[in-house]
Amino acid sequence: MNVAAPTGGRDVPRRRRWPPRLIAGSAIIAIGIVTALLSLAWTPEPPIQIRIALRLKPPLVAGLLGTDALGRDVLSLLMLGAWNSLTIAFSAILLGCLFGTALGLLAAARRGWLDEPIMRVGDVIFAFPALISAIVIGALIGPGRLTAILAIGIFSMPVFARVARNAALQIWAQGYVLAALALGRSRGGVALGHVLPNIAGTVAVQLSIQLGLAILVEAGLSFLGLGLPPPAPSWGRMLADAQTYFGQAPWLALAPGGAIAFAVLGFTLLGDGLRDLLDPRSR
């Protein structure tokens, strides 16, 4: 191992603190989840109520963030949009994480005849961006929640497979794994008992980062009309609607984009924070 040049006392061991990015990320996501759950019980106005008399009102004139072209309260739409956005992202990434990690674990445990095909299929899937898959799936079964979840989930699968495999391969080379094998444990038992717990952190980091990406992709899908069909509010479609009324109500384009960026920031911060926690030397 190389010794880094002295950097002036920064390497003095300190009491372990929570990485700041972990705290910031967790706080943002907590706000998002609370907002999403709250939206099911309460929003300032009924989010899908059409009030033509109040259409295109600027922020604070009607509601905190103004109203859209149908007079719906933007803040209420944003809140319910958080629920839709988060549930789609969580379902899709859970799907991708479960299958991807299982395949990566399998590839690392079995090597040889299974490893290469699993990773090559992953390469093929990775050549189809989620948005493009969604266009294909949407052409067949129409747009909607399932289309978005499938497209995002399938695309994230090879990412988890690769991350899990590479991390697992390192664990398989460890002495304690060899010892467990020598004691007569089956490869499957070692994979679940020793390898999986040790790669869980790495997978969790990826999980958080992929959740952020999923929010972005979901927003893109609904921007193109491939996400939830109206009247269910979604951040992406609010932006698409905002573009139509750009001249009259430019503020409509600000809040939904801000909400998307805020949510993605939360997940990427959480992912980075988790990485800082697991490997304090990475930064």
Partner: protein, 316 residues
Amino acid sequence: MILSPVLRRLLVFAATLLAASLAIFIVMDVLPGDPAAIMLGTSARPDTLAAMHHQLGLDRPATVRYLSWLGGMLRGDFGTSITYGVPVSRLFADRLALTLPLALLAVVGSTLVALGLGMAAVARLGRATDHAVAVFSQLGIAVPDFWLGLILILCFATGLHWFSAIGFPGWSGGFFPALKALLLPAVALAVPQAAVLSRVTRAALLEVTHQDFVRTARAKGLRGSTIMLRHVLPNGLVPVLTIVGLQFSFLIAGAVLVENVFALPGLGRLVYQALAQRDLVVIRSVTMLFAAFVMLVNLAVDLAGLLLDPRLRAAR
């Protein structure tokens, strides 16, 4: 079996391409669901449906259809668009004239910016510049490219009137007006990419600065900038280029969105309109083209890595 690294990569590329075409074909032509019925809608009369079946060649066995689609693509024949009534290859040629320069601008721009930011961050490690780069990349990753496009239109087109908000004058109207129309969309695409890449660059270069040869270069008394450009950058370039390749599939997706924001008649808009018109012939071929692009870029990155780093040539 000993193959040269280049030949081995070319073979893997060809096999992956073939697998991708098979995947698209199975999803769109073989899975339950009648493409003719999807295109015509549920109210189609049986005889129009039969005619459409014949026009699409759906009355032939699946293997024959797959092979003729594959053979056609190899000859540059991507079928005929149902809505436009023209060969898909002609649509491609028209639309590529926009999407290709747009993607190129974004890739080159974001890579150069990221290399610059990454070098600046490593040179000023732990100081204000480093933190500023970190903040830029953290925020840039979170901002959706199509929203950034909207904001840019809001600021520079409807606000300052420096650019026309949407549309594309075409290359026939002169090089610079066309380039100008691509500038804002390219920035919208490039910023999130640059954010991702600048982190990767910082990490890759930082890794290199811990190597012995960098210490030796410092001990020799070389200037910091010389060490960075001659020793650190070349050694850190390969991982950065690999991520440029992996990011390309996100760039393609971004192009679909950004082209729609700026109403640019590119491939992304073509596939979006084809979806609205249920033109499965176009969707199938554009999807294949996108996948081929992504794979081609990754192949190019792989080969560039071999060219740049002699150590990779020796491996395997």
